[in-house]
């Protein structure tokens, strides 16, 4: 039986959007899929050596519930509907939101992004960084973890053309 294959293009560079590619890739690998992720544009953030500083922004994100991960239940149930105008002038607002999000992640037994990334690597998920955006954003290969490949659109299609599942995230 031929091994199934999955390819993902990861384009986002925030803490929240780092989840879908790493969750899907690690799970696909556990199910026996040969899996590749092509990181391009802001997705390159997820390949940096230290990814503990990825942030989440509630600014301009009306879909994001703003709830406190501590205190009594009635307090945790409040959805803090803070206007964009206020969010944008408070210094450190994103860092605060990120800290709260990380607490929520921990409280819920959800894996951290560094953990999911290493689970992908252990399961032989192949990481490919888009060389064009590496140069465009002034990164160098030493900014990124070892064991990744660098390539372009044609490299992506070589594998993607053979896949059963192909996602753009």
């Amino acid at each position: 039986m031929d091994e199934k294959k999955m390819a993902i293009i990861a384009t986002k560079g925030t803490l929240d959007w780092a989840y879908p590619p790493f969750i899907l890739a690690s799970t696909a690998a556990a199910l026996g899929y040969e899996t590749q992720i092509f990181f391009t544009f802001y997705g390159l953030q997820m390949l940096k050596k230290d990814i503990s500083d990825l942030k989440v922004s509630p600014l301009g994100n009306p879909g994001m519930p703003m709830k406190m991960p501590f205190g009594p239940k009635w307090f945790r149930d409040i959805n803090w509907n803070i206007p964009n105008a206020v969010q944008s002038i408070v210094p450190g607002y994103e860092s605060l939101a990120t800290t709260l999000m990380k607490m929520t992640i921990k409280n819920n037994g959800v894996a951290t992004i560094p953990e999911l990334r290493s689970l992908c690597q252990e399961a032989d998920v192949k990481f490919i960084a888009c060389q064009m955006t590496v140069e465009l954003f002034g990164f160098s290969h030493s900014d990124f973890i070892d064991g990744i490949e660098y390539g372009g659109a044609a490299t992506f299609f070589e594998f993607a053309g053979e896949t059963d599942i192909c996602l753009f995230i």
């Binding site: 690690s26 556990a30 037994g109 959800v110 894996a111």
Partner: protein, 75 residues
Amino acid sequence: MNFDKELDARGLNCPLPILRTKKTLNEMSSEQVLRVVATDPGSVKDFAAFAKQTGNELLSSSEAGGEFTFFIKKK
């Protein structure tokens, strides 16, 4: 039910119970049985799907007091 190995996946959320299960199965030999205990309600459907796709047999799946117990026989 008899089992050869046990995995405590309580408190873990998707996709960790499946990933840990896969990793544990890798360390076991064919026909051996793994018992997994999880608290993630999504794990019921996930373990059935995992078994179907990987060919490892889900011998039983049960719930008691908010804990889900799965017995999986390695292919």
